[in-house]
């Protein structure tokens, strides 16, 4: 009997490993350049005061991504397809236009992250060659590579983010204070404090991640039978991703704080004299890996979503002529981002803010769509949300909607 149990147990681990991947990748891809920037700014300006916001947004992200993953497992369709089928063409078209614009801005800020990290490594004027070369590399790997290969590439980029944990330790944090800050909310009546808090939520719960995680679940073909493993994967992915965000805040809080910075690049440079050159390099390396990961994932997930909603052929395995619009959107996002980042003297902070504002417009729409779909018995059958999760989810959605609008109007005023 015991042997049997063990065998079954190891079998379950294998099954978990087989399904694992999408959750970790999605969650870590969400930690792109904008996430890292926000967290370093939060740590450098406000020390540990904002870590509790990270905890709350982790919780929100778990709830929403679990819903996305469940929808994918039950229907076998992507979120964009469900929106089109449930709300019709106009709604889907509108959502896709906003998603496209938001994601191109997101991609631009990821490319800005790539360029910034290259700058720290002293690439200098050669970035005019290096960034296009990276663009081509991303294109080649994503379009030519087999699914397994692409996933390994993404996983490697995920592992680079472990750098942040190391640089977090290099900053010699006071763990007791960290633990307290996680559970003890702090408020300050200060517009930039509120703004940074909102930005943390906004970068953690990015709208495109909902599309991406659901698409991944559909691609893996996980049925509702194996859903419990999928759920573990999604949740563990989110937790590990936000753990890394936490380490970024910690790292900045115990070294740079209290100082006013605006970019991740500044944070990496400031780390040099304070925590040693290695911390600075690791920080920049992490920024590079995270930006690369998001820069590869965001454009392709946009292509998938748009083509799915409007009924165009899609799939990495297709030929260019078979899925022209799919590859067209992918190429357009990459090329536009490369071009914008290479414009001399452009303010990339401005682009990042724009991306966050667009995310802020899109997120409420997507959340309302998601909550209506996940509660539709005709679509989800018996797997609709329970009452408890619905109350929490609507409350979270409502909170995020208010935060998004605040962010949007603050940004509007600021510009």
């Amino acid at each position: 009997m015991i042997v049997n149990r063990e065998r079954k147990f190891s079998g379950e681990i294998l099954l978990y490993l087989a399904i694992a991947g999408p959750g970790v990748i999605t969650a870590l891809a969400g930690n792109g350049a904008s996430g890292i920037t926000t967290c370093s700014v939060a740590g450098a300006r406000f020390g540990l005061s904002l870590t509790w916001v990270l905890v709350v947004s982790t919780f929100a992200l778990i709830i929403f991504q679990e819903m996305s993953a469940r929808m994918g497992a039950v229907t076998g369709k992507g979120l964009a397809a469900l929106i089109r089928e449930r709300f019709g063409l106009r709604a889907a078209f509108f959502a896709m236009i906003v998603l496209l614009v938001a994601n191109i801005s997101n991609t631009i800020s990821e490319f800005a992250g790539i360029a910034a990290s290259l700058d720290i490594f002293g690439v200098g004027i050669w970035k005019y060659l290096a960034v296009p070369a990276i663009t081509i590399l991303i294109w080649e790997i994503v379009t030519r590579g087999s699914f397994r290969w692409v996933e390994k590439f993404f996983m490697a980029l995920c592992l680079i983010q472990l750098c942040y944990i190391v640089s977090g330790f290099l900053s010699r944090p006071d763990w007791g204070r960290v633990a307290i800050s996680l559970v003890k909310p702090e408020f300050k009546v200060d517009s930039s404090f509120v703004y940074t808090a909102i930005a943390i939520v906004g970068t953690t719960v990015a709208p495109w991640m909902q599309f991406f995680v659901q698409g991944n679940v559909v691609d893996k073909g996980t049925g509702i039978g194996d859903y419990k493993y999928q759920k573990v994967d999604v949740i563990s992915g989110i937790i590990s991703a936000n753990l890394i965000s936490l380490f970024i805040i910690i790292c900045c809080a115990f070294t740079i704080f209290p100082r006013s910075i605006t970019t991740a690049e500044q944070a990496a440079r400031a780390l040099g004299p304070l925590a040693g050159q290695s911390a600075s390099v690791l920080f920049a390396l992490g920024l590079f890996g995270a930006s690369m990961l998001s820069a590869s994932v965001i454009p392709i997930s946009t292509s998938y979503a748009v083509c799915e909603a409007l009924g165009w052929e899609s799939g990495i395995g297709k030929k260019y002529s078979e899925a022209p619009i799919f590859f067209g959107i992918f190429a357009f996002s990459l090329v536009t981002s490369t071009l914008v980042v290479l414009i001399p003297g452009i303010s990339l902070v401005r682009v990042q803010l724009l991306a966050q504002e667009l995310n802020g417009i899109l997120l409420p729409i997507i959340l309302v769509y998601m909550l209506s779909i996940v509660n539709d018995r005709r679509i989800m059958g018996e797997h609709v949300n329970g009452n408890c999760i619905n109350i929490v989810a609507w409350a979270m959605a409502f909170g995020i909607i208010i935060l998004s609008f605040t962010l949007f109007f603050v940004g509007l005023k600021g510009s």
């Binding site: 005019y128 296009p132 009924g311 067209g328």
Partner: protein, 598 residues
């Protein structure tokens, strides 16, 4: 009112003007080939308070672009088992083919009046339908009337679309293959072109023999070879036997040599020898284009006998409009058209009514020449003869229409750098991958050029004025090399003789040198005016001369690299970027040399 999208949301009233809400759905009977509309559903109010009315179609009195007028509404449960709710079950759903392969999404449904009823005719899956649904009705109509297929309607007839499970939300549609097989061969070919390699072979195996040959014939040539390679040799050789020999030869010519040899061995002796003979000719000549399935008769036949003979052989011949008259050794002695035959008395011999002055082409005449002959003399077919005037075959006009358009497109493509498709019009779609690749190439070329400028930045620091000349340089080298390219493609492409080619090249290049010198002098004087100092002006002038004259050489080399199998537009684009880089390098090197020397 042909579209569901236009009916949805329309006001519904009774004859007394009582508002019954707006049209929410249209109900069609399932099962029928083109299902009749059975009724409409109207909805009044929103959310939980919404009232729904079911109105059988017989109660609809009249309708125009604004409202439906109905005699009465029946509020009853609709039985979903036997009916389809078009908006709920079909609209916006994915169409999946029999392998579960996602193809497209239903963007609209077309309904038409047929036999006193409204019937669902087809689902619309094109871009135009999306535009129409989004409210850009006028734009959609304009695009629809265009001739381009991409923008035209993409419509799947309803009889090919059958909902698997009506009334379930997860309804998927499929194209069942029994009905699929009733399609016209060219439609099947269109569908096959859309699929991937394995599915192509799978579908080909479903189609029965004579039809499969037709399908194979209609598939685009580049796709056709991949389909043929995926099919079994036995099956393919059977199909090749059924086909007219010229088409079989075309297909064989597009396959790898060993595969073609194997297939020829598997074919019947008679068919194989006809194909083998055709394969011996260059595919771009009259011999390569011709078919051997023409009607030829001896001079001794009477008109009546000929007509009887046509009844027998007419089935297999490519055209029966022209009947060729040959002597005992096969020499072509005349032609008689079907019109002449029908008008002449059946008793007389054909030799008395035939046209003796026959326009012919020779076996190795270029296809372009064949096309010219056909269009000049307004013929439907032209006979192909060998040196001894023995009739070998005919080329029909439909075989060379493609040639005429194809050749023009290729020339234009090479010159403009725009990817023209085989139909002879430029690829306009935003999704065209070649367009993206082209843009990316240019972009990367630009980056490379900028990087070059970085290497030579010391010279710029010394005399920033040199930079004034770069736009002139880049623009003019493009223009000049395009001119040279045009000349090379049109003149040199036609001659084979080496010495003549060299003379042409020499003449062209001397023009380029003269232009380069003139531009150099012009830029030198312009530079003097701009900068009021000699060094940058001299550097600029000499740089321009070097840049233009050196990149001019590239234009002549270009056509010789031309590979007919590669995309001419792509190589032209690459050529443009190459010209830019080479001219810039020459310019910068000469400039820095002049500046450093002084």
């Amino acid at each position: 009112m042909p579209y569901l999208s236009e009916m949805l949301g329309m006001r519904i009233e009774t004859t007394q003007g009582v508002n019954l809400g707006r049209l929410e759905d249209v109900i069609a009977a399932s099962g029928a080939k083109f299902p009749p509309v059975k009724g409409i559903v109207s909805r009044k109010g929103y959310g939980k308070k919404a009232q729904r009315f079911y109105i059988p179609w017989r109660e609809v009195l009249r309708w125009d672009t604004k409202r439906f007028v109905v005699s009465k509404a029946v509020q009853e449960e609709i039985l979903p088992e036997s009916n389809i709710l078009l908006a709920r079950d079909i609209l916006d759903k994915q169409i999946v083919d029999m392998e579960g392969y996602k193809i497209v999404r239903v963007s609209d449904i077309r309904i038409a009046r047929a036999g006193g009823e409204l019937r669902v005719m087809s689902v619309d899956v094109g871009l135009v339908a999306i535009l129409r649904r989004l409210g850009f009705v006028k734009t959609a109509e304009k695009l629809r009337s265009g001739t381009r297929k991409v923008w035209g309607d993409r419509v799947i007839p309803w009889n090919l679309v059958s909902p698997v499970e009506a009334a379930s939300y997860n309804v998927q549609l499929q194209v069942p293959y029994r009905e699929f097989l009733e399609l016209h061969p060219s439609d099947i070919a269109d569908i096959i072109e859309q699929l991937d390699v394995e599915q192509r072979a799978k579908i080909m195996s479903l189609v029965e023999d004579p039809k499969a040959a037709e399908v194979l014939k209609h598939i685009l040539p580049n796709v056709r070879s991949s389909v043929a390679e995926a099919m079994g040799d036995e099956r393919l050789s059977d199909l090749l036997e059924i086909m007219p020999p010229d088409e079989a030869a075309d297909i064989l010519a597009s396959l790898p040599r060993e595969k073609a040899q194997t297939l020829l061995r598997l074919m019947g002796i008679e068919e194989a020898s006809a194909v083998r003979e055709l394969l011996g000719y260059d595919p771009e000549t009259a011999g390569g284009k011709m078919t051997v399935e023409f009607v030829s008769i001896p001079q001794t036949m009477t008109v009546g006998e000929v007509i009887n003979y046509l009844r027998e052989v007419g089935r297999d011949a490519e055209t029966i409009y022209y009947v060729y008259v040959v002597d005992s050794e096969g020499h072509l002695s005349g032609v008689v058209s079907l019109r002449d035959l029908l008008r002449a008395s059946p008793r007389i011999r054909v030799s008395e009514t035939m046209e003796r002055d026959v326009k012919t082409v020779e076996l190795d005449d270029d296809q372009q020449h064949v096309a010219e002959v056909l269009s000049k003399y307004n013929l439907l077919a032209v006979p192909v003869v060998d040196e001894d005037h023995v009739l070998k075959g005919i080329v029909t006009v439909d075989d060379v229409i493609d040639v005429m358009r194809g050749e023009t497109a290729e020339d234009i493509s090479q010159l403009s750098g725009l990817p023209f498709e085989m139909e002879g019009s430029p690829a306009r779609g935003i999704g065209n991958s070649r367009r993206w690749i082209a843009t990316l190439t240019t972009f990367l070329g630009g980056i490379l050029a900028t990087a070059l400028l970085g290497i030579f930045k010391y010279e710029f620091v010394a005399t920033i004025a040199v930079a004034y000349f770069i736009p002139i340089l880049v623009r003019s080298t493009q223009d000049i090399s395009l001119w040279s390219l045009a000349v090379t493609v049109s003149d040199i492409g036609k001659t084979e003789e080496r010495r003549r080619i060299l003379r042409l090249l020499f003449r062209e290049y001397s023009y380029t040198i003269v232009i380069a010198a003139m531009m150099g002098i012009f830029c030198f004087s312009l530079g003097l005016i701009w900068t009021r100092s000699k060094v940058p002006a001299l550097a600029g002038g000499m740089g321009i001369f070097a840049g233009v004259s050196i990149s001019g050489i590239l234009a002549f080399a270009m056509p010789f690299f031309k590979d007919s199998k590669r995309d001419p537009a792509g190589s032209s684009r690459l050529f443009g970027v190459l010209t830019m880089i080479v001219s810039l390098i020459s310019f910068l090197v000469v400039c820095s040399f002049v500046i450093g020397w002084r």
